[in-house]
C-alpha cells in the first residue's frame, strides 16, 4: 500500500475486501482514533475494545462511506465514538457520577481554539460561541467525554431536566447558526 493513497481511496479498497488497506488506515489513524475512544472511556483497555469493535465495523460497512458527505477522517472518528459510547452505555454510564478521573482530562475552555485549525471547525466554534457558556461546555463534555445527560447535569450542578432542555435548545440553535 503506497502511503500516498488517500483515506477515502483506502476506504473504497476496504469495501472491496482489501485487508491491507484496512491496515493502512489503522497505521495512519489509530493514534487519533484511540485518543477519541479514550477521551470517552478514560480506560485504555476499554478504549482498545472500542477501536477493535470500530475496525470490525469499518471492515463491514466501508461500502456505505459516501465521499460527498464529509471527510473520511470524520466518518472513521464517528464510528469509533459510537463504539466507545456503546461500551460506556453497556458499563452503566447512566449512573450520575462526578467522575474524578475526568478532573484533569476535561477539555479546558481554551481548547476550543483548536477548532480554528480547520475551516469547518472555525465555523462550528463561532456558532458554539453564540451559546451560553455552560450550555457550550455541556455539549463539548458530552461529545468529547461521552457524558450522559445525567453526568453533564452532575458536573454543571443543575437539575437533570434543566440540562436536558438546555442541551436540546443549544443543539437546535447550533443547527440554525450552521445552516
Amino acid at each position: 500500500m503506497k502511503s500516498e493513497t488517500s483515506l477515502p481511496d483506502l476506504i473504497l479498497l476496504v469495501a472491496g475486501g482489501d485487508r491491507r488497506a484496512l491496515r493502512s488506515i489503522y497505521q495512519r489513524e489509530s493514534t487519533r482514533l484511540f485518543g477519541i475512544a479514550n477521551a470517552v472511556l478514560r480506560d485504555r483497555d476499554a478504549a482498545a475494545d472500542a477501536v477493535h469493535d470500530a475496525f470490525v465495523r469499518i471492515a463491514g460497512r466501508a461500502g456505505q462511506f459516501d465521499v460527498t458527505r464529509g471527510a473520511a477522517s470524520a466518518w472513521l472518528g464517528a464510528i469509533v465514538r459510537y463504539a466507545a459510547l456503546d461500551i460506556a452505555r453497556a458499563r452503566g454510564r447512566e449512573i450520575p457520577s462526578d467522575d474524578p478521573a475526568l478532573g484533569d482530562s476535561a477539555i479546558p475552555p481554551e481548547a476550543i481554539e483548536l477548532l480554528d485549525a480547520k475551516a469547518e471547525g472555525a465555523r462550528l466554534r463561532a456558532c458554539l460561541q453564540t451559546l451560553e457558556e455552560r450550555i457550550r461546555n455541556g455539549i463539548i463534555l458530552a461529545f468529547v467525554h461521552g457524558l450522559s445527560h445525567a453526568e453533564v447535569a452532575a458536573r454543571l450542578n443543575e437539575p437533570l431536566g434543566t440540562v436536558k432542555s438546555w442541551i436540546r435548545r443549544g443543539l437546535l440553535r447550533l443547527r440554525d447558526c450552521l445552516a
Binding site: S30, T31, D49, H52, V56, R91, F143, R168, L172, R175
Partner: protein
C-alpha cells in the same frame, strides 16, 4: 414526531447523551425513516470538528493483531484449502460489547476448496451481530449474541447479488437459533453480495420482498490474507 423533535433526537443521538434504550429506538427508527437517517448524517458532519478536541494517544501495540484475528480468525489456524472440518475458533471480540456466546456453527461441507468469503452483519447501531462465512458450497451464519425476534415477528434472511434489483429470500431464521446454513442450491455466494436480515411477519414476508426494517446487514468480501 414533529420535525423539531426529530432534529433534536438526531442531534442527541450524535452527541451521545441518549440512554441505551433510546439509542436502540432511534436506530430502529432511522432504518425505516430516511429523513431521520439523513439528519443523523448531517449532525455527524456538523459536530465532527469536536473530534479534534480529544488528545491523540497511541493504542496498545498488540491491538492491530487482535483486530486482524477477529476479521481473519481462520487464516492462521487452518490450512487455506482442503480442510473439511469446519471448526470455528474462538473470537476475540471486545468482551464488553459482544458479551454473548458465540454459537457453534452448523455447516454444509464444501465439495472442493472454493474461494472463501466472509462478512460481519452489523446492526443498525453498528454492533457486530452475525458472522457470515461463504464459499461455493453456500453460506454459514453464526450469531455473536443470539437473540430471538420480538414476539409475533420473525427474522428473514436475504441476499442481493451485485447488480440485482431485488433480494432473494434465503428463508427464515429459526427462532432462538444462533446458526443458519444456506446451501449453494439456493444461492451462489459471490464477493460484493449484500446479505441482510429483516424483521417480518410470522411466516416471512408476504410479498417475497423485504417489508420490515433491516436488522443486520453486511457485504461479502474475499477472505484474503492480511
Amino acid at each position: 414526531m414533529t420535525p423539531e423533535e426529530r432534529q433534536a433526537l438526531a442531534a442527541e443521538y450524535v452527541l451521545g447523551t441518549l440512554d441505551a434504550a433510546t439509542v436502540r429506538m432511534v436506530s430502529m427508527a432511522a432504518a425505516a425513516d430516511p429523513i431521520l437517517a439523513e439528519e443523523i448524517a448531517d449532525w455527524e458532519v456538523a459536530l465532527a470538528p469536536l473530534q479534534d478536541l480529544a488528545p491523540p494517544e497511541a493504542p496498545p501495540p498488540e491491538l492491530w493483531e487482535r483486530i486482524a484475528q477477529t476479521l481473519e480468525p481462520t487464516a492462521a489456524k487452518r490450512a487455506p484449502s482442503g480442510s473439511s472440518s469446519w471448526f470455528w475458533p474462538a473470537w476475540s471480540f471486545g468482551a464488553t460489547v459482544v458479551a454473548g456466546s458465540l454459537a457453534a456453527i452448523l455447516l454444509v461441507r464444501p465439495a472442493a476448496p472454493p474461494e472463501r468469503m466472509m462478512t460481519v452483519l452489523l446492526s443498525s447501531r453498528d454492533q457486530p451481530a452475525w458472522v457470515v462465512e461463504a464459499d461455493g458450497a453456500g453460506l454459514r451464519l453464526a450469531a455473536l449474541n443470539p437473540r430471538a425476534a420480538p414476539e409475533g415477528r420473525t427474522m428473514q434472511l436475504w441476499a442481493l447479488p451485485q447488480g440485482a434489483t431485488a433480494p432473494t429470500s434465503l428463508g427464515l431464521i429459526p427462532r432462538e437459533s444462533g446458526q443458519v446454513r444456506v446451501s449453494a442450491s439456493q444461492i451462489r455466494p459471490e464477493p460484493g453480495m449484500l446479505i441482510e436480515i429483516t424483521l417480518e411477519p410470522p411466516g416471512g414476508s408476504p410479498t417475497g420482498r423485504p417489508t420490515g426494517p433491516v436488522l443486520f446487514i453486511g457485504t461479502l468480501a474475499p477472505a484474503t490474507g492480511t
